[in-house]
């Protein structure tokens, strides 16, 4: 079964190719079902591989399946190979599992869209790329997937490209992601330089044995982190993720909550020995610091958003920050654990919000919702489960993973723990606010009926079965998901023992003092969560206290605006200056002079001859500079 690991990415790829060729003939809904079937089958295969791996001893739980040798350059040999080990299979399990659910959901959500089959085309391509990313045996295969998911994300954000904002958002995502890609590339070349290979195994081995120089290891780790910051939307590159909500909601759930954005975390865990063992000791502090800062920062913004999806987007950024806090604190198991539970409940929340948007005929403003619980009972019920999970209420999944991260953060530094705690409070607060605004209180959609124009008679309705089924499944997972890693004893820490071969050496052992007070910390976390919920209840349901939603938070601390002002102003200017040369002087030959022709013929002749002269003059200038250099070399002997 282990050798069949190549089937996992191959199936979505097959789906992609079939839809590419036959997409138009298949049409709606068949291409949707085909795509779902392919991802679902991939999930089944993954489960098979998973069971096979479970039956092996801990030492044997890493299987490399080489498809072919790809790049044999001198001493560098890169294979197109897949690695089946506990970490990659865990990732593959939830990528294919949640992927299939979201595919199913999309059949209902995208109903009637003229580009129905194209949507599934991209979706399957995305799942394929994501699986390449997580299953890659070396950095190059991962990079292939990394580029692939980036491109798919771009294509899917701009899916409704006729909307200007969607096109801009796509562009933004692309540009910021390229910064991350650059980091990854640099890390790749340094790795090759340091260990003569791009495979993870030798890199991690070298890091464990200390054969990489500390400085090199730090550069590799931090460059990988730059890549992760771009992909996983951390400060200061988080900008694209909230904008990415312009894409269809299933895309937000799949790519921008559950899978792609966690690729950065995955990468850090995959190369964990480099950061945890080989790099300078302050390197993890940077990761933890940025993670904690992002978590808090994004949570404050989420408090004041009115768009149902924007709240969830900032919440995602915040939760990803949590995961990096875990990585920086050496809690790699907790990072993966939180990644999994987060994938469950955040996908659930996004799909729930999609269902609400679907039911409200495309309305996303929470101020125009309210009391939807009665009209959309299943959506409402599952959304509430998601809310409890993210708010950290025991025994829902989110509580256990968040608790473990906080424990490690406390162990690293009480300051990090404090930041995490405040974030938890805010998380509970803004999620409660959202639930109340959407599902409770007074129905407000009638107030705005007039604005809706053509479909003025908004009547929210429950969504079709294809959309509701995934909600129910994910809700179930959000309830019991914590069971994979319970902190009661060593035997209940199933995830930890399962992941042991991958991260055993890099996981930071807790100080004994922290271990002792872990139930106290858990108690505090629960209290904080309840406090957040209660606070929001008082403010938004009882309306005892006036809501504090300052404009500075609603506008995301004006960070986005500042950046775009800069990019639109001086940044763009300097960027264009380099292009100006060719724009004005060179481009002028065809366009500029062409424009002049319309004006006066006499000017043209002058302009024309002047332009070729300009070329020659510039070439001559270059020649003079070159000669000057060489003469200088001659004189300076």
């Amino acid at each position: 079964m282990l050798d069949l690991v190549w089937l996992i990415p191959a199936l979505p790829l097959a789906g992609f190719l079939i839809i590419l060729v036959l997409g138009r003939r298949l049409g709606e809904p068949r291409s949707g079902y085909l795509a779902t079937l392919m991802t679902g089958t991939a999930f089944v295969v993954t489960v098979g591989v998973f069971i096979d791996l479970l039956s092996k001893t801990t030492e044997e739980r890493a299987h490399i399946k080489t498809i072919f040798t790809w790049l044999p350059v001198g001493n560098l040999k890169v294979d197109l190979a897949f690695l089946a080990d506990p970490l990659s299979i865990t990732m593959a399990l939830f990528v294919t599992g949640i992927g299939s659910l979201i595919h199913l959901y999309s059949i209902g959500y995208m109903h009637g869209d003229p580009k129905f089959s194209k949507f599934f085309l991209y979706l399957n391509l995305f799942v394929f790329s994501m699986l390449m990313l997580v299953l890659g045996e070396n950095m190059l295969v991962t990079f292939l997937g990394w580029e692939g998911v980036g491109t798919c994300s771009y294509l899917l954000i701009s899916f409704w490209h006729t909307r200007e904002s969607a096109a801009t958002a796509g562009k933004k995502a692309f540009v910021t992601n390229r910064v991350g890609d650059w980091g990854f590339m640099v890390a790749m070349f340094f790795t090759f330089q340091a260990v003569g290979s791009l495979s993870y195994a030798p890199l991690n081995e070298a890091a464990r044995s200390g054969s990489i120089a500390q400085s090199t290891a730090t550069v590799i780790a931090l460059m990988l982190f730059v890549g992760a910051v771009g992909k996983s939307a951390q400060l200061p590159l988080y900008l694209w993720l909230p904008d990415a909500m312009e894409g269809p909601t299933p895309v937000s759930a799949l790519i921008h909550a559950a899978t792609m954005v966690t690729a950065g975390v995955y990468l850090m865990v995959r190369t964990s020995p480099v950061l945890a063992i080989a790099a300078w000791h302050w390197a993890p502090w940077i990761v933890a610091g940025i993670g904690a800062a992002t978590a808090l920062y994004a949570a404050t913004i989420a408090v004041a958003q009115n768009d149902i999806k924007k709240v969830l987007a900032y919440s995602t950024v915040s939760q990803l920050g949590y995961m990096f806090l875990a990585v920086g604190s050496g809690a790699y198991v907790a990072a993966i654990f939180h990644m999994i539970t987060h994938a469950f409940f955040k996908a659930l929340l996004f799909l729930g919000s999609g269902s609400v948007i679907h039911g409200m005929n495309g309305e996303q403003d929470m101020r125009k919702m309210g009391a939807l619980r009665k009209l959309m009972p299943i959506t409402g019920f599952t959304f509430i489960i998601g809310w409890l999970a993210i708010a950290g209420v025991p025994p829902f999944a989110g509580f256990w993973s968040k608790d473990e991260i906080l424990l490690f953060a406390w162990d690293k530094s009480p300051i990090l723990w404090g930041v995490g705690l405040v974030t938890a409070l805010l998380t509970a607060y803004y999620m409660t606010r959202q639930v109340i605004m959407v599902f409770y209180g007074k129905a407000r959609w009638d107030d705005h009926a007039a604005e809706h124009g053509a479909h003025g008679d908004t009547h929210p309705h429950e969504s079709p079965w294809t959309m509701v089924t995934p909600l129910v499944v994910l809700a179930g997972l959000s309830v019991v998901g914590g069971a994979i890693q319970l902190p009661f004893s060593a035997t209940t820490k199933r995830l930890e023992s399962w992941l042991e071969p991958v991260i055993a050496t890099s996981e930071r052992p807790l100080k004994s003092g922290s271990e002792d007070i872990k139930w106290v910390l858990a108690g505090i976390a629960v209290l904080i969560g309840v406090a957040g919920i209660a606070g929001a209840y008082v403010v938004y349901s009882k309306k005892k206290v006036k809501a504090i939603e300052p404009a500075v938070l609603a506008n995301a601390w004006y960070y986005d605006k500042t950046v775009s002002d800069f990019m639109g102003g001086p940044g763009r200017k300097s960027f264009e200056f380099i292009a100006w040369f060719d724009q004005r002087i060179i481009d002028g030959a065809v366009n500029g002079a062409g424009r002049m022709v319309q004006g006066a013929a006499g000017v043209v002749r002058k302009g024309q001859s002047g332009l070729v002269r300009t070329y020659a003059a510039l070439i001559g200038l270059g020649a003079v500079l070159l000669i000057a250099w060489f003469v200088f070399r001659g004189v300076a002997q």
Partner: protein, 153 residues
């Protein structure tokens, strides 16, 4: 430097001569312009058409052929001088050169460069050239007047 002295002297003399004649004619010649004097000189006949006059392209082609043969001569002449020394190698080299040259000449002739008869052999260029400039280009096409006549005919 000594060996270049005559060259330098010659150069200076040549420049001097040009400058002196120019200045002298400026200073000495009387200036009484009239319309007849300013008209282009056409063998003493009053010009019949506005300039610029357009010459048939065949003239240029003949001129080019002339240059081509010039080059051939320039190449063959030194060979003729040192034919003995170069021996059979030089002979075959010249054969090869002449063959290539001849191929080009055959091509030119076969394409009708030396046909001076009525225009039937010329390619029609009407569609290719218009008197107006286009907005997309800055090339100024000169001398299309004759072709326009041809089109009208």
């Amino acid at each position: 430097m000594g060996q270049y002295l005559p060259v330098v002297c010659l150069m200076i003399l040549a420049i001097l001569f040009g400058v002196v004649s120019f200045v002298a004619s400026r200073l000495l010649a009387p200036r009484r312009p009239s319309a007849a004097k300013q008209a282009p000189y056409e063998c003493g006949i009053v010009p019949g058409r506005e300039l610029p006059e357009r010459f048939p392209v065949s003239f240029y082609i003949v001129a080019m052929l002339f240059v081509m043969f010039d080059i051939e001569i320039i190449f063959i002449y030194p060979y003729a001088v040192s034919r003995q020394e170069l021996g059979s190698f030089g002979f075959w080299e010249m054969i090869a050169f002449t063959a290539v040259f001849f191929a080009a000449f055959v091509y030119v002739v076969a394409r009708g460069a030396l046909d001076w008869g009525p225009v039937h052999k010329y390619r029609r260029l009407d569609s290719a050239v218009s008197a107006e400039r286009t907005l997309s280009s800055t090339i100024r096409r000169v001398g299309t007047e004759g072709r326009l006549d041809e089109k009208a005919a």
